[in-house]
């Protein structure tokens, strides 16, 4: 019964986490060309969406929490902000997981963009409550746009592990 073998957490959780951390550090480089800076997408949204689509897991929420805490400490933001925002998106995708199964790639992209929007909205509201000020909607939109463009990576991750454990197909 090879189809029922459990996924190796190191492969489907550990490796994507490592890539997310490396990409975040890479894009934090203070590079400015012709007055323009690098975008700052939320790379952690890729596993937050893909892990929920691949299968329910006990470790995945804690892995997301760790990623969120890393983002907060590395970017100097409020601790727990991104952990909570990512978990909100993860929980939402997990709740509608059955609806996502078998969807086409463009449709999955739309769902991914929706998860990004939900996560950014959560971050917006948590920041409002934490700082008692309203963040710039334009800045939020740009970050949403940069994050939504990362869907190909999420799709690659889903493709790689979706059929690895037939119990959750």
């Amino acid at each position: 019964m090879t189809g029922a073998r459990p996924l190796n957490p190191g492969r489907w959780l550990g490796v994507p986490m490592l890539f997310v951390i490396l990409a975040t550090i890479l894009f934090a480089a203070p590079i400015r060309m012709w007055g323009l800076q690098l975008p700052e997408p939320i790379f952690a949204m890729v596993p937050a969406f893909a892990w929920a689509v691949i299968r329910p897991s006990i470790l995945a929420p804690f892995a997301l929490l760790l990623l969120g805490l890393f983002l907060d400490t590395f970017w100097g933001g409020p601790t727990g902000l991104w952990g909570l925002s990512l978990l909100v998106a993860y929980a939402s995708v997990l709740a509608v997981r059955n609806m996502l199964t078998g969807q086409s790639r463009p449709m999955l992209w739309v769902w991914y963009a929706g998860a990004c929007a939900l996560s950014m909205t959560a971050g917006f509201l948590f920041t409002m409550m934490d700082s008692l000020a309203m963040p710039s909607l334009v800045a939020v939109f740009w970050q949403f746009l940069a994050t939504a463009l990362l869907f190909p990576f999420a799709h690659r991750l889903i493709d790689r592990f979706e059929d690895a454990d037939v119990r959750f197909r």
Binding site: I25, L26, A28, A29, P30, I31, R32, M33, Q37, L38, E40, P56, S57, I58, L59, A60, P61, F62, L64, L65, G68, L69, F70, D72, T73, F74, W75, G76, G77, P78, T79, G80, L81, G83, L84, L87, Y90, A91, L94, G123, F124, F126, T127, D130, S131, A133, M134, P135, S136, V138, A139, V140, W142, Q143
Partner: protein, 377 residues
Amino acid sequence: MPFREGPLGDLKVPLTWTAAVALIVAVVIAVAFLLADRRETLQQQAYGVTRQTVDTVAKPVSGVIAAPGRWTGVGVDAVRNYFFAGSENARLKAELKEMRTYRDKYLALVDENERYKSLLGLKTDPPIPMVAARVVADSRGPFANTRLADAGKEKGVVVGNPVMNERGLVGRIVGVAPGASRVLLLTDIASRTPVMIDRTNSRAILTGDGGPNPKLEYLRGSEPIQAGDRVVTSGDGGVVPRGLPVGAAVKGLDGRWRVVLFADSTSIDYIRILLFKDFAQLADQQALAAKVLPPVITENPEQSILGPARPATPPPAAPATTAPAATTGTAPAAARPTTPAPTATRPAAAGTSAARPPATTRPSTTSPAPAPARTPQ
């Protein structure tokens, strides 16, 4: 005994439910972290050991990653300088010609300023030492705008120090670790900086919102600002020194006044951390604390430049010719025997008192009656 051989070995729990429980636990932990966060207090204690450790580790890693970008920038600059040397030279000559005029004015004003200071005995703030640092990482998102600089505790950097680049104010230090420090930019949503409009001296609070142009809030006065006005730090509250250039005022699309930061006109590769301490912090507070308070002396109404105090009761309705004589002749002199001296030595006291009489004699200021009433004193 292994778990599977125990009484709970056959217990089967659906993975979906256990995953949901794990998710709820993770959410609770994240909420606890968010509630416990004290980042906005901008205190050293709020910048915990975890953040310090991450900064210390991130500094060399980010420094290595940022190096190629820095080298590329240097190379592009070198090529551009080579090809545009002629036009650059012409521009610099024109600028130098203009600056010579400013230099003469500056020297004259410095001399004049020094003379005024010596005449007034004015004690100005001492010069502020600075530390140069290089930025190795930055965050540009809507919820956090910070920079990681490669100068930390070993260089005397402390939380609260203002940070500038060659054009203007960048932000201030919110966390210090060995070898690294975290700069909260003016654009961060937690940033609040007291500023003033250079032209009108109107005060405002520069408030970041995660966008490139922070807002000017709590602007006071009528017509306090115009587009293009220079905004500088006000020094209020002792957070940053007064007069640091911040930016130029613009009206945003949302109708609010915002600031285009001077610091944004160049890349923030290198920064200067001002080891600034509020002037009040430099003074010896113990020496300033008074050991013995001076005695409390109430104001003598006869010697006051405002004249004698008015009684709370309204003047009597009696005829003006009698009432003033009674009041001025008894009450003030009896209450303070030392005060009549000035009035007695002044021959024109009657005229003076007629011109500025006490409140009780006010109804009769037009009549000459009070003058003979004062003479017996």
